[in-house]
């Protein structure tokens, strides 16, 4: 369970999060949507402890994230842009991340799923953007963490890899994991997500389950639904 109370974050004069309140129950898959600069990534990064909020509280499975790092054992994170220490080989990178976490991991099936065997001995600097993102996926999914957070996970992936990723996510859902995704790709949302959280100007603007929207979505598509809701203001 992830619980966010009255979260404030500003970068200089720019207020990004303004008293955000959110609770995500365990076992749910949630999409965080919102326009560019609405604070999606900032919120995710706050949960991960990458961004230090000025005010408010975040609890992950009941533990406050402030001045704490051990709770991150329970989270797998797939960041937006995959860049790594350039001189390491893929194999070494995987080993290193395994080394840094105490929990068990199983990268082998993922490596073969994405066909990364032939890249294992290449150094990361030589890899293409897509391959790097695949490595990134392996790093995130090789641990059996109860919470998975993904920031634009499909960027740079080819369609086949994208299908494989979706399949992976579904498997994790089946295991009862809590999953957070930010994305601009509505097909991903429609296919995977139970609930939509829409953030605007640093606050939750609306939160609806996909089932709730289901009828409308079929008529005018998800983008249309969102546009409609936004117009109601």
């Amino acid at each position: 369970m992830i619980q966010i109370n009255n979260l404030h974050k500003s970068f200089g004069k720019l207020d990004v999060l303004r008293g955000l309140e959110l609770t995500i129950d365990s076992g749910k898959t949630v999409a965080i949507l919102g326009p560019n600069g609405s604070g999606k990534t900032t919120m995710i990064k706050s949960i991960l402890g990458l961004v230090i909020p000025q005010k408010g509280e975040i609890l992950v499975n009941g533990n406050s994230v402030k001045n704490n790092w051990t709770y991150r054992e329970e989270i797998s994170y797939l960041p937006q842009i995959a860049r790594f220490p350039e001189n390491l080989k893929v194999k070494e990178l995987i080993k290193m991340v395994q080394d840094l976490r105490k929990t068990l991991s199983d990268p082998e099936p993922l490596i073969s799923l994405f066909g990364l065997e032939k890249f294992l001995d290449k150094s990361l600097r030589t890899l293409s953007g897509g391959t790097r993102q695949k490595v990134n996926v392996v790093l995130a999914f090789m641990f059996d963490s109860p919470i998975i957070i993904m920031d634009e996970p499909t960027v740079g992936l080819d369609p086949i890899a994208m299908i494989k990723l979706k399949k992976l996510i579904k498997e994790e859902q089946a295991k009862g994991k809590t999953i957070l995704i930010t994305t601009h790709i509505m097909s991903v949302v429609e296919e995977l997500v139970e609930e939509i959280i829409y953030i605007l100007e640093g606050k939750i603007y609306f939160r609806k389950s996909l089932a709730e929207l289901n009828g409308t979505v079929k008529k005018i598509g998800l983008e249309g639904v969102i546009a409609e809701i936004l117009e109601e203001v």
């Binding site: 970068f11 990064k45 991960l48 402890g49 990458l50 961004v51 230090i52 790092w69 051990t70 709770y71 991150r72 054992e73 989270i75 994170y77 960041p79 842009i81 860049r83 790594f84 220490p85 350039e86 001189n87 390491l88 070494e92 290193m96 991340v97 080394d99 840094l100 976490r101 105490k102 150094s123």
Partner: protein
Amino acid sequence: MIKILKYSIYDLGRSHWTFIYFGFYLLIAGTLLFLGGDVLKAIISLMNIILILIPLISTIFGIMYFYNSRDFIELLVAQPVKRSSIFLGQYLGLSLALSVSFLLGMGIPFLFYGLKDSGQFMNFLSLILTGSFLTFIFTAVAFLIGLFNENKIKGFGLAILFWLFMAVIYDGLFLLSLLMLEAYPIEKLALGMTVFNPIDLSRIFIMLKLDISALMGYTGAIFQDFFGTATGLTITILALGLWVFIPVYGLKLKGNAKDF
């Protein structure tokens, strides 16, 4: 932290720059020794090179490495790892890699040339000691500047400016203040001013160890009285240590408060 340190050294161990840096010292020290044929003279020439180049290279490497490993750091901060360990591990990794390159690059030619029998071992040691301190100091400051500045160009500029200030401008101001206060007994002031610049402190520390101190007359004698004693040595090392500690502590503080 040890794990981060391990990987950052591993990473740097692959880098060509580390080897170029090592090769540079090997070449310079070797050339000066085998062509010059005098250990003391080689040490004096190396002192001039070291006092300028170590701070410069450490600053440049520090800021470049910091910016280059930002993604690595971002990868790590999302992992269950303590933040300060990440920065300290990376910092120690680079500083150690640079000082070990320096140590080996210098040590190998000196050992081959016969440092043991030259009677210059202590001088060589003070050269290595100050060189390593300078590496740690300027890398730390470069990291700190990098941490405070998202903008690479600005960070790079500030780092170079810091080096320029310590290597050149500070001494200009130093000289100016000595000239303005020439009517007063200024040896103590001069002594105090050296402590605030690690390059000056290192330079004087080495020079007083070497024979050059005879050139320094009365002032040299006063400095010798200070630096020559155990207290002076302790204060020198303490001051250099503080020069490492303060930016490293800043690194920890800023690192904990930084957004990624």
